[in-house]
């Protein structure tokens, strides 16, 4: 089995109102020194068999086309075979 983990985050230049609200809440709850919070998404995809060859290419393509929007988001993809 292969596990693919895709992390998606808003690009640094895109305003993240949710992250900002979380930053405010952390401060209100007593956490000092909060400089910034960015909120992202994580996809954990379990696949039959090893991830290799064309399936790797398709996985990477879909991470860029479906799981993230390249206009506003960056993604990282890691594979544990």
């Amino acid at each position: 089995m292969a596990r693919v983990v895709v992390n998606v985050a808003l690009k640094p230049e895109i305003l993240d109102p949710q992250g900002r609200a979380v930053a405010g809440a952390l401060g209100r709850l007593g956490l000092s020194g909060v400089i910034d919070v960015r909120q992202g998404k994580q996809f954990i995809i379990d696949l039959d068999g090893e991830l290799e060859g064309e399936r790797t290419e398709l996985m990477e393509k879909l991470a860029g086309e479906l799981l993230s929007n390249p206009v506003i988001e960056d993604f990282t993809l890691t594979v544990e075979n």
Binding site: L10, I14, L15, Q18, A21, N69, V71, I72
Partner: protein, 226 residues
């Protein structure tokens, strides 16, 4: 025979009935399209209505762009089919890359629902020719993720090419860059708009009837083309 304008219903669409009503009031024939349709039933133009297609899961409009009917619409829009995307429809057009940029969460985090004043900036698109340049209108705006964002270069290009079709007047309601409420593609056949003209077509139910020209514009465009 009057023009046939398709209105797509996705699971989670809300404003498809109002869009069809606006089309009828403007004098055209609304044609119901289903997200799973494999053909466009000979429509002359398409409206992608507001709502929460596929529950807005993943990102607003992200799943809708892969619907069977959308692959046809994307193909035909690239060769001139007039398409108007309202609210969620605008989000779908951006996700489909028929329009540049993206819509993100309102900068103030809250859902808004107001009668919004807009200024029409471009009357050169198929959907805005019945307005006069600089005309101010009031139509409803209701969204949670209506903040229009794009790179500085894209924003400059949109203004330089007269592709910003409407801007917000007064305070910015959702954090949209440069007060952008709606844009068009280069050819002017694809228009995306965050506020809702289809809710402003009758005195009884809307704040104004300022939304009607969007729908009469496309009728004139279609008549002129045939």
């Amino acid at each position: 025979m009057s023009a046939r304008i398709g209105v797509v219903t996705f699971p989670g669409s809300l404003d498809d009935a109002d869009a069809a009503r606006a089309i009828r009031i403007a004098g055209a024939t609304p044609v119901a399209l289903w997200h799973g349709d494999a053909n466009l039933h000979d429509v002359d133009a398409v409206v992608l209505p507001g709502g929460f297609s596929y529950g807005d899961y993943l990102r607003c409009g992200a799943i809708a762009k892969f619907a069977p009917v959308m692959s046809l619409i994307i193909q035909k829009a690239q060769v001139g089919l007039p398409v108007l995307g309202i609210c969620n429809g605008f989000q779908i057009l951006c996700e489909s890359h028929l329009l540049p940029g993206a819509l993100t969460r309102n900068d103030h985090q809250h859902f808004i629902c107001v009668d919004q004043k807009l200024q029409i900036e471009s009357t050169e698109t198929l959907w805005t020719r019945d307005f006069s340049p600089g005309q101010q209108i009031v139509i409803p705006l209701k969204n949670g993720e209506g903040g229009y964002v794009a790179s500085e270069a894209t924003l400059d290009e949109l203004f330089a090419e007269n592709r910003v079709i409407a801007t917000y007047v007064g305070s910015n309601p959702n954090g949209s860059y440069r007060n952008i409420a709606g844009i068009s593609n280069k050819a002017g056949n694809v228009v995306g708009l965050m506020p809702h003209p289809e809710h402003a077509v009758e005195a009884l139910t809307g704040p104004t009837t300022d939304g009607i020209p969007f729908f009469t514009s496309i009728l004139k465009s279609l008549v002129g083309a045939s």
